[in-house]
């Protein structure tokens, strides 16, 4: 304690201490000099400053004091080099900011755990198969195809019951499926909410507690149970205003009465972070709620070939995921074998696998994780370029500060001490850059959210700068400071003191070798690495830009311009089936007579919107052809082909004649015709539709092949059938209307709203958009990539050019004397320019060679994001090389020209 007090007192009087210590030394020296003579005394005494420092050091918490000194000194140095500091801070801010922004998305998507008990114990059950598995006759849910392998988390309900009752690895096993938008009425007030159908064990299995009332239990999820639902906390507070007597309240869902039994814990919004659930309905009440689709058929719960339910389990203590997978895989293999009806189905059975479910269902992760990894790699590379730049600037500054370093070292400063001081300066820079980077990131996150959402109203992914992201930023900033600061610090302290003090230009001892006649040192190596990384990013940008261009120039088979799209759902507004059909037919007529509308039609899904509706097709008296692609269906109204401008090649289009009760008809595309009726005309032929209730359908026309659901995937065989003839397979509920307009389609939106309001005031006009926007939305990833990568490419180029320019300019300024001598001895200016440019070209070509080799390997990772262009596309590579060469020459020419302008006399005098 007293020791501390003494130290503090010393701290208060440290100036006096310094004076006294100095005086003491003088006294000592004087006494010694009397005895032995002045020189001997000095020689023996040694380094007075160091001695004083050491004596001083006894008093202080040395590290802290030195840190303080370093910080003060660093601030002074930074303030003294405003341009350098600004440039370094800005490039760091861009680099760190971009990294933080992308990381915040990764964090939001991949690392945020569900707000449930022990999320790390949760497991998701999935299957995968090569191609489309034949045992899947009907499918509702989401599947994902990559490299010909289909993966999905949707299973038949009997499979769920089998797993639930027969597994030994899970303590809880439960299921859910997406409920879509549900129409709710509470206390006479209507709401639209996101629904989730859950099994009785859902809340118990997840370990979610109620914040009011109780949650759905096993007893509620039975065919005969009283109809109850639970709601989310945010729905209760946000939409229902947190009403007190929420438990026990009546609620109508799509017209069916239910009772709210309780509210889930705050924060909990279901297990799919992509679309948070607001209303939780027992899965057995699905039939009562679903107006649409064939979902209310009783087969739903018994059909082993109908894939729709998603399952999660909670591992028993001591069981790991591999053990659980082994058991479930065995169970499923036996079970699914029993559902296969034909040899073909046996040949392509799906195989089960498990995934960790702690952060919820992974549709979101699957969609965004790979793009985010690629973006993360890119911003990482940009940060590397920024680091190289700053390292280079520091290197040349270290050169300027050689004298300072030499003085410090000769006065007895330890090398480590000087290095630490230089590193402190670097870290100050990088932390400053990191702070600015947070601002950049905040802007970047907002921009990226807009870019990714691309106008989609359901984009719920909230990336934010939370504590974890900020810690990441801090770590990145410190790491960068260390990375770019270390090399210059080492170099700076390798000063050969004596010549440095004499300070002649010829006496620089730098680590360098000669390569192809060019001087090659650390800073040159940095420039080479910058050029190669830039090439990588520019090449990637080129590939994505070309992908986007290819996608935009895909031949759609119909005219995407001047098409207005919107959605009507009369059934949800209380119309019965007949009235709905009547209304839609009536409206279609009214729309067609709007001035400025050429034609109008309707279809059950919009075209090229990543929506697919598939069915089984059988041809009487013909063996089923190999099933590469399932046949897709579009339920359309009259004038569909005229409105979309899809040419009919044979036969006739669908028109007003094709009504309910008449002969079922279809127009098929060329691919359908070729697949099922090769070599003969398909018109007049019959086929059967659907798995359960088969319908006989006559082909009345063949349409030119048009894009169906996606720009990228192969076009499937498509059967266009009248929506009025959909019959039992699908109740007419909501339909998309397509209006071919003369001018800007959106200009007619209000006219459409007025007409719909006049005809059916209760039916809202939803999702008003244009066909072009719908298509654009399907290529959001590609567009995002193209935009971001172009930005990244330009940024990388700019930084690399800056690096090259700086290095060359510095090299020229150092060689002023040499160049002056050469010129005095008769070297032509042309040769001087060449001398500098040769260095540029050597660095450039080395960078390009390395970059090309890297690009050759690295672009293969981009394969699944490219369209119409190969990863190693020679044209793109050549273009990228050309851009880089041009930039390198441009950046190098300035210093070269300056070298040529050197006046030999001045240069020599300066020497």
């Amino acid at each position: 304690m007293r020791e501390l007090w003494r130290r503090l007192r010393w701290w208060a009087h440290r100036d006096q201490f310094d004076r006294e210590l100095e005086e003491e030394m003088r006294h000592h020296l004087a006494l010694k000099a009397e005895e032995r003579g002045l020189n001997a005394a000095h020689r023996q005494f040694g380094n007075i400053t160091l001695l004083q420092e050491d004596s001083r050091a006894m008093w202080t918490w040395r590290l802290w004091e030195e840190l303080g000194q370093d910080l003060r000194y660093g601030l002074r140095t930074m303030a003294g080099n405003k341009l350098f500091t600004a440039m370094a801070a800005i490039s760091l801010a861009l680099g760190i900011g971009a990294n933080t922004a992308i990381y915040s998305f990764m964090d939001a998507i991949m690392m945020r755990a569900l707000p449930v008990r022990d999320p790390e114990k949760l497991i998701i059950v999935n299957w995968r198969s090569k191609g489309q598995p034949g045992v899947v006759h009907d499918f509702d849910g989401s599947s994902h195809v990559e490299d010909g392998v289909t993966t999905s988390g949707n299973f038949p309900f009997p499979a769920y019951e089998m797993f639930r009752d027969h597994n030994h690895v899970f303590s809880k096993f439960f299921a859910r499926t997406w409920g879509g938008h549900l129409n709710l009425v509470v206390d006479g007030q209507a709401y639209l909410a996101e629904g989730e159908y859950v099994s009785g064990g859902y809340f118990d299995g997840l370990g979610v507690r109620p914040s009011a009332g109780r949650l759905i239990g096993v007893g509620d999820d039975r065919a005969a149970a009283a109809p109850v639902v639970a709601i989310s906390y945010s729905f209760w507070q946000g939409r229902l205003g947190g009403i007190a007597d929420v438990a026990g309240k009546s609620i109508s869902i799509n017209g069916t009465p239910f009772t709210i039994v309780g509210v889930a814990a705050p924060e909990f919004g279901g297990v799919n972070p992509e679309s948070p659930g607001q209303v939780f309905v027992p899965v057995h009440d699905m039939a009562a709620v679903e107006l649409d689709h064939y979902l209310h058929l009783p087969e739903h719960f018994t059909d082993g070939n109908w894939y729709w339910i998603e399952m999660m389990g909670r591992l028993k203590p001591g069981v790991n995921i591999a053990q659980a997978e082994a058991e479930l895989r065995g169970l499923f293999a036996v079970w699914v074998r029993g559902t296969a009806k034909t040899d073909k189905e046996v040949a392509s059975l799906p195989r089960l696998f498990l995934e960790e479910g702690g952060s919820g269902l992974d549709s979101l992760r699957r969609r965004y994780s790979k793009p985010l990894f690629i973006l993360m790699a890119m911003v990482g590379l940009i940060l590397v370029i920024a680091c190289a730049n700053i390292a280079n600037l520091l290197l040349s500054r270290a050169e300027i500060r050689r004298r300072e370093m030499a003085v410090r070292l000769s006065l007895g400063a330890g090398r480590l001490r000087v290095m630490r001081q230089l590193l402190t300066e670097s870290l100050m820079l990088s932390v400053g850059g990191g702070l600015l980077g947070v601002v950049v990131a905040a802007v970047g996150i907002r921009a990226l959210t807009l870019l990714l959402a691309n106008g989609s109203p359901d984009f719920t992914l909230g990336a934010e700068l939370d504590g974890r992201v900020l810690i990441f930023t801090l770590l990145v900033a410190l790491a960068t400071g260390f990375v770019f600061g270390l090399a210059p610090a080492i170099q700076a302290t390798r000063v050969d003191i004596t010549p440095a003090l004499k300070e002649t230009r010829a006496s620089q001892a730098r680590l360098r070798v000669k390569l192809f006649g060019a001087r090659f040192g650390l800073s040159q190596a940095l420039v080479v690495s910058q050029i190669s990384i830039s090439l990588l990013l520019v090449a990637a940008a080129g590939l994505f830009v070309r992908t986007l261009r290819n996608l935009n120039s895909v031949n759609l088979g119909f005219n995407r311009e001047h098409l207005l799209l919107f959605n009507l759902n009369a059934a949800q507004a209380g119309y019965d089936e007949e009235a709905t059909k009547q209304l839609y037919a009536d409206l279609q007529g009214r729309f067609r007579s709007i001035p400025g509308v050429r034609d109008a039609t309707l279809s059950h899904i919009p075209m090229v919107a990543n929506w697919t509706s598939t069915t089984d097709v059988t041809i009487p008296g013909m063996p089923a052809p190999p099933d590469e692609l399932m046949t897709a269906v579009a339920l359309v109204g009259p004038h569909f082909f005229e409105t979309m401008q899809i040419p009919i090649l044979l036969g006739r289009p669908i028109d007003e004649r094709d009504r309910e009760g008449g002969q079922n008809v279809a127009v098929v595309n060329e691919i359908f015709a070729k697949k099922y009726f090769p070599g003969v005309s398909a018109v007049g032929r019959h086929f059967a539709f659907g798995g359960k209730q088969q319908q006989d359908v006559e082909i009345v026309g063949v349409a030119k092949t048009a894009r169906y659901s996606s720009l990228k995937q192969d076009i499937p065989p498509v059967a266009y059938t009248p929506y009025l003839q959909a019959g039992k397979a699908r109740h007419v509920q909501w339909m998309y209307f397509e209006l071919r307009t003369v001018g800007d389609p959106l200009a007619l939106a209000n006219t459409v709203r007025r007409i719909v309001h006049e005809a059916a005031p209760q039916v809202p006009v939803a999702d008003v958009t244009t066909q072009s926007r719908v298509i654009d939305r399907t290529i959001t990833n590609e567009r995002t990539f193209a935009d971001l990568c172009s930005c990244f490419g330009v940024l990388a180029l700019a930084m690399a050019c800056l690096g090259l320019y700086g290095t060359m300019a510095y090299a020229v300024s150092r060689r002023t004397g040499e160049i002056g001598i050469r010129m005095a001895l008769g070297a032509e200016r042309r040769r001087v320019v060449w001398m500098v440019m040769r260095d540029v070209l050597v660095m450039g070509s080395m960078g390009l060679a390395i970059g090309l080799a890297a690009a050759w390997e690295a672009t293969a990772f981009l394969k699944s994001f490219l369209f119409g262009v190969k990863p190693n596309d020679p044209l793109t590579m050549a273009g990228a090389v050309a851009i880089l060469v041009a930039c390198a020459v441009l950046a190098g020419y300035g210093p070269a020209a300056r070298a040529a302008r050197i006046d030999p006399m001045k240069a020599l005098r300066h020497e």
Binding site: W10, H28, A30, F45, D54, S55
Partner: protein, 110 residues
């Protein structure tokens, strides 16, 4: 001159403390001189270790310092033992003797 030995590590504090115990109060140069002379020029105290050591001892409270006129009329900083310093000296001496005795036993011919 050439035959001077390094001061064994850890004993510098003890030597300084003992010197001050003997001389009462002394400045840095005098302490170094005293150690050198009383060791018959075998032990030489480097200034580089002496002054940091003195500072350390000030922190520990073993010595106090005051400015006084030296014998040849110069202002000098004189160091003096504190009671704490005396205790420390006897501690260090005991420890040193213990170690010396132990070393002696090891190197003595059996």
């Amino acid at each position: 001159m050439e035959d001077r030995s390094e001061i064994p590590p850890g004993t510098l504090y003890m030597l300084i403390l003992k010197t001050l115990a003997r001389l009462g109060s002394m400045h840095g140069y005098g302490i170094a001189q005293h150690i050198q002379q009383s060791s018959d020029d075998v032990l030489q105290v480097e200034e580089g270790s002496l002054y940091p050591a003195l500072q350390r001892m000030l922190i520990k409270g073993w010595v106090i310092a005051e400015w006084r006129q030296s014998e040849n009329n110069r202002r000098a900083r004189f160091y003096k033992l504190t009671p704490e310093g005396r205790k420390q000296l006897s501690r260090e001496l005991r420890e040193f003797e213990r170690v010396m005795a132990a070393i002696g036993r090891v190197i003595q011919p059996a």
